[in-house]
């Protein structure tokens, strides 16, 4: 009986107790030490993206995309404007690395419609741009493997394979050569003018026309 009475007295305060628990928990949220939350991507996700093969685009893939007029990507040159003006890839946007996070360029790199392909002279600065973008959670960022230098060495000026190499190398070479022609490189054999075959006018044949002998007038009606 005593226990029941105590319990009943205790339970008569149950709403007060529940309200107190609520307030203590809510107050606890205010009291909690503030923790700086990591903004953007998680470390494991960043690592996964960094080691993924999706990260790089080879120069051959890129030239194929440009030639086939693939509309799904944006080229971003992260070098300084001077180098950009000297030489860059067709239809590229120049966003120097130190201006990468400027507001005016955000629309180019923070979107989900297009792949963004970064490049610099090598892939060094482009990789930095890639990491910066990914830390902010931007999507579909890629890097041109080897950058402009690799572009020059493989597409614009492809090395001629020597005879011992496999047939694929020759095929690759001819593809690259064709690509380089697309980007405006001229080859000597392209320039060679074939000697025109001049047809000599055939000697005139003399066809003797036999004159019909005049017949002597024979009688008549």
């Amino acid at each position: 009986m005593m226990v029941k009475k105590k319990l009943a007295r205790f339970l008569s305060f149950r709403y007060v107790l529940l309200a107190l628990i609520l307030l203590i928990l809510a107050g606890g949220l205010v009291m909690l030490p503030k923790v700086e939350k990591q903004e953007g991507i998680h470390a494991e996700q960043l690592l996964n993206k960094a080691i993924s093969t999706e990260r790089y685009v080879s120069t051959d893939e890129l030239s194929d995309k440009i030639i086939s007029q693939d509309p799904s990507f944006i080229l971003v040159d992260v070098r300084d404007p001077q180098s950009f003006n000297e030489y860059s890839l067709p239809n590229a946007v120049n966003i120097p690395l130190r201006n990468l996070l400027d507001e005016e360029y955000e629309a180019y790199i923070n979107q989900t419609q297009y792949d963004v392909i970064f490049y610099s002279n090598d892939n060094f600065y482009a990789d930095q741009a890639w990491v910066l973008g990914n830390r902010l959670g931007y999507q579909n960022l890629r890097v041109l493997k080897g950058g402009i230098n690799e572009w020059y060495n493989s597409i614009i000026n492809p090395t001629v394979p020597n005879e011992q190499l496999a047939a694929e190398d020759f095929e690759l070479y001819s593809t690259r050569k064709a690509a380089s022609m697309f980007f405006g490189v001229m080859y000597p054999e392209q320039n060679r003018v074939e000697e025109p075959v001049i047809e000599k006018p055939a000697a005139r044949k003399v066809v003797p026309v036999k004159k019909k002998k005049k017949r002597p007038v024979e009688g008549g009606c």
Partner: protein, 196 residues
């Protein structure tokens, strides 16, 4: 880690099935706690029954406290949660219509369906009214569209728009809840009891 479905811990294909399950549980709880009675719901406005106020206020406070603790401990990323977009005037006008309907009919849309399930006639009329409202809304949509699509403020929260500290907001909100419960009890004791 969480939320569970956007992070792929549960495949997205399950979400309708989970929604149906939660919906059935919700309906069961509504019915078993007497919310399918329009008198109980209308009691909030007449001051003889504050169950609705208490239930929904408690639910909000408990879940917000739980979510922020889980966020703090890293079980849930609060930035990934869905925030319903705000269409300012659409929300105000819709809220007024909903409120008037709530007082006049004694149901909110969810409880009206519960009451239909147990065969209450007023609930049938109420749901019929909802259907007529839906029809009128669709027929006059071209006139309503500027309000429906306009005044768009984005997926904003109080913390974003006023730059408040969420923890203090929750604390003050809980105090308001407890005070409201106490006040509701005082009012309920003064008002004449209604049996239903």
């Amino acid at each position: 880690m969480g939320p569970i479905i956007p992070n792929g811990l549960i495949p997205i294909e399950w979400d309708s099935i989970i929604a149906i399950f939660i919906g059935i549980c919700f309906g069961f709880v509504l019915e078993s706690s007497g919310f399918s009675s329009s008198r109980k719901l209308a009691g909030v406005f007449y001051g003889y029954d504050f169950a609705v106020l208490k239930v929904f206020f408690t639910a909000a406070v408990v879940s917000v406290i739980g979510i922020y603790y889980m966020d703090y401990l890293g079980y849930l990323d609060i930035r990934q949660l869905y925030v319903h977009p705000t269409f300012l005037w659409g929300a105000i006008i819709g809220g007024v219509i909903m409120g008037v309907g709530f007082v006049a009919g004694g149901f909110c849309p969810g409880t009206s369906l519960c009451a239909v399930a147990i065969g209450k006639l007023d609930a049938w009329v109420y749901v019929l009214g909802i259907m007529v409202g839906v029809l009128l809304f669709s027929e006059f949509f071209t006139f309503i569209e500027p309000i429906y699509d306009g005044y768009f403020l984005g997926n904003i929260t109080l913390m974003d728009s006023f730059d408040w500290n969420p923890y203090w907001v929750i604390f003050i909100f809980s105090i308001i809840a407890v005070v409201a419960f106490a006040l509701a009890d005082v009012v309920r004791k003064r008002v004449k009891k209604v049996f239903y």
